[in-house]
Subunit: 531 residues, 2 copies
């Protein structure tokens, strides 16, 4: 059987880029970074602009990346994904064999959605959500005492937690009627206990999110919360909602006030714009803002059909990452938002990226011949500057940096101190770090020397709003997918989580048995003194 | 001038370890991981036990690391640090030339403290704190209306924020009278705005933390908070406290109700057991728990004098890290606590480690000849399992993993679900992941194949309490310091943060000027559309 998709190493562009990577552009050379260069390496896409003059690239490199994109049919593959082709699959071995249609969740504004069936399903769920939120607002849905609900506990893990949580945290100033959301995800019993001691359960909705309806951590946490509801004399069926697959064990009107559906063509880590994310967001922000959020995401998806990488922001962003990782050999990417509201967004991207592209085999089932996905980490600036930036500037590990910034603050509560506002200081620091990493500084004192020449880019938008949040999310989702296509891995499965699950099951069984230390598991339990 | 300290590459042990690293122990080989191995590679220290059978080591490697520790005089250097030798210095170039005495803050239980002068200063500040907390409890210190304070806003950044914040988050169940602490750190104006909209300022103390009394971000945030206090008709001098250097601009009784001192021999990232951490912790937990916290830290410091690495947990932990990083070439370390309470602890360690050891020159001022500090990142398990563990198990980037676990939950609110408690499930997952990473799994389907042989260790204690939190903190502090000594870098300065500061200043000035795009800074501002 011939390979369906080209391996990156078989592309003509690969050899060419390899050659260019032998002597990449040196940002720290005298007059390397010029106003002209900054203007040249600039791309606009939807709400965002990308300043990529501080990447170690030249026009030749960009041309090479364009060829790579063309040879790998990246734009075509993305379109195939959007239009419902089965992209979650491997050749030659059994695999999930699923469509990948998170983009359909926001393809609701178009006359001709890429995959009409999936978008119709998304519209149907959004219709249910709109009605539900209306009923909440109008006092049709109330608690045992006829009071409105003002709190929601979102129970999920991994893809059902990190995306929604990071977006909620980013959207706090846009909340409606001061509604509050708490999240429980960890099987650590202290996670649920900490939330339960804070909320007034009588006015709390509990949204349980699990596609399969059988995620062990989530079911454990649901049981803990249901028990607390019962202990408080409340009726769980009046308080609990679910987001789950149609006809899963959690699609049960006797146990849940409402169930919203997610389909198997939406992977957990790409599910923030599906019901997994928007039921909670709708509760917190209202339906109108959910539409803005989806509109922002759709605006990025639309750009992905553009073949010219210089006009296709998500593709360009992906290819710059491929240049850094595959050709320059930089193993980790730091995502550094200059926005405290995005403090959990790097954790979401860590999941979305590393679970998607942390793979060792190609879609042909052959081993990868170049490294697949990098390690993703990050914290907000300016805090990071006072933490780990020391290593970025003067350490021996190389890191590719993706800065994110916004021209305005969300709340607009600011003061001029020593002649500038905090927002100005924030942005000055963002721009300064980008320059400092690129240009470096020579000094006679070796301890004050900065080698510079550190690849970085700046993604800018006006303000972090529901719409730009949706765009930012979709931009990173598309980046990750484009990179997976380029490395020819299946970005949509996660077989790597299975072994741990199996072993945990065995250990739980061993916990019940005698401990004679004859087996590995028993001696591990004995040494760790775990009962 | 001869070099004061040996470079790692000049040690006899270095060549020997290099040779051993050519064919390191293969954890995934048949019967490689045995009960005997687990028992053999086990170390106890204070509150913690370390299971390190899943490191890629042999007895020979351990012996080699012992020789390395001996040749580099690591134990002696640590003692010199504790006893007040000037360890924050470089040879041949101007440097900070300071003592490094964070350990003195907890050396208060000993009859013969390693550095009596510093410990006496610590005791004096603790005495002031004890009196202050007593006055708060007894209603001697009250607000304008005679009410007690129930909230504290901790304003700091970097070392004055991440450590205290992560410890507070970990100690929530031990709070006294439900006192609540909020943190403001980012110069992003939304950070302070988000906190200020949540608190009742009339009953809030504001603790401003800056050693120099001149940290720009912190002063900006202090001004924002003081303005809010004034706007609420309150007197800032009744609400504001400071932790700062004696006679810094913030040591001013007209502006601060109380000032607690930190001395220049305590670096920001090592300051959590100084007034930087314990004023806030004392407010939240009470003085008695602060003593427990310090006792835990002291218990680890005491172990550091032990020359046998098999009995010196912090040194052993450090050397296992050196083995992975310097000899096996693993560039990043994931710190994965199976405790939701430690959710911000990896961010603190990221700072403490990367700012300390992310250096390019040795203490001799010569360039480092091996890589210095690794990249540190991490999130709590089990959440991480549903996020980035895919890459740990099946990706192409190598990661050294440090698991942390506790036998009991903090709150003890748990339920048996499907035959086991959540705490049991949590621990089963922790042990299972360690085994899975080490042993891997063969499978005909390459997508279900796990290469295994991934270095990891498990650090265990009974329960996350103030005492074990102190021990955990001190263990990591000591690990970082030992590693810095081993790599022969100055772990106590941070010249790498200076360039960004200087450039940010220049950009702030340019913001005020005309934008004719002639200079780099002006075109950067114009392209980023930043005013």
């Amino acid at each position: 059987m011939t390979n369906e998709w080209k391996s990156i190493v078989d592309c003509e562009a690969f050899a060419n880029l390899k050659r260019l990577a032998d002597a990449p552009f040196d940002l720290s050379a005298e007059n390397a970074l010029t106003p002209e260069r900054l203007h040249k390496f600039f791309c606009k896409g939807g709400e965002f602009e990308l300043l990529y003059g501080c990447q170690r690239i030249t026009t030749e490199v960009l041309d090479g990346l364009q060829s790579l994109a063309d040879e790998c049919d990246l734009v075509k593959q993305f379109w195939m994904m959007r239009s419902g082709h089965v992209m979650n699959r491997l050749q030659n071995y059994p695999s999930e064999e699923r469509q990948v249609l998170h983009t359909a969740c926001r393809d609701i504004f178009s006359q001709n959605p890429a995959c009409e069936a999936a978008t119709n399903q998304a519209k149907a769920e959004l219709g249910k959500l709109k009605q539900f939120l209306h009923d909440l607002d109008q006092g049709v849905i109330v608690n045992e005492l006829g009071q409105s609900y003002n709190t929601l506990i979102h129970v999920g893990i991994g893809g059902s937690d990190l995306g929604p949580r990071s977006i909620y945290e980013a959207m706090l100033p846009y909340r409606k009627n001061n509604r509050t959301v708490y999240f429980i995800s960890n099987v650590d019993p202290d996670d649920s206990a900490a939330v339960l001691e804070r909320v007034d359960l009588s006015r709390t909705l509990v949204l349980v999110v699990s596609k399969s309806g059988s995620t062990l951590e989530t079911l454990s946490n649901e049981t803990l919360v249901r028990t607390a509801l019962k202990n408080a004399g409340l009726n769980p069926a009046l308080h609990c909602l679910s987001v789950t697959g149609e006809s899963s064990p959690m699609d049960n009107p006797k146990r849940y006030l409402r169930s919203f559906y997610i389909y198997d063509y939406i992977g957990g880590r790409f599910s923030s714009t599906s019901m997994v994310g928007v039921v909670m967001l709708g509760f917190a922000l209202g339906y109108k803002q959910v539409m803005e959020f989806l509109k922002g995401a759709a605006s990025i998806d639309q750009i992905t059909t553009e073949k010219d990488i210089r006009s296709n922001l998500p593709l360009l962003y992906a290819l710059l990452g491929v240049w850094n990782h595959t050709f320059l050999g930089i193993g980790t990417v730091a995502i550094l938002p200059y926005s405290q509201a995005l403090h959990r967004f790097p954790a979401h991207l860590q999941q979305c990226d590393m679970e998607s592209n942390g793979k060792s085999i190609q879609r042909s089932s052959d081993p990868v011949q170049v490294k697949s996905g990098p390690i993703i980490w990050g914290e907000p600036g300016t805090n990071g500057q006072h933490a780990f930036y020391q290593l970025l500037h003067q350490g021996t590990e190389e890191v590719a940096v993706e800065f994110i910034g916004f021209r305005e603050s969300q709340r607009g509560h600011d003061l001029e101190i020593k002649g500038t506002t905090s927002q100005q200081k924030l942005l000055a620091n963002l721009l300064a770090q980008s320059m400092a990493l690129a240009v470096g500084k020579k000094d006679k004192n070796p301890n004050k020397q900065f080698s510079g020449n550190k690849a970085n880019s700046i993604l800018m938008a006006d303000k972090l709003s529901p719409k730009s949040m949706g765009a930012l999310l979709a931009l990173y989702e598309a980046k990750i997918v484009f990179q997976g296509f380029c490395w020819n891995v299946n970005s949509f499965d996660q077989e790597g989580v299975q072994l741990g699950k199996v072993l945990a099951g065995e250990i739980l069984i061993a916990m019940d048995g005698k401990k004679d230390e004859e087996t590995l598991v028993e001696s591990l339990l004995a040494l760790a003194k775990v009962k």
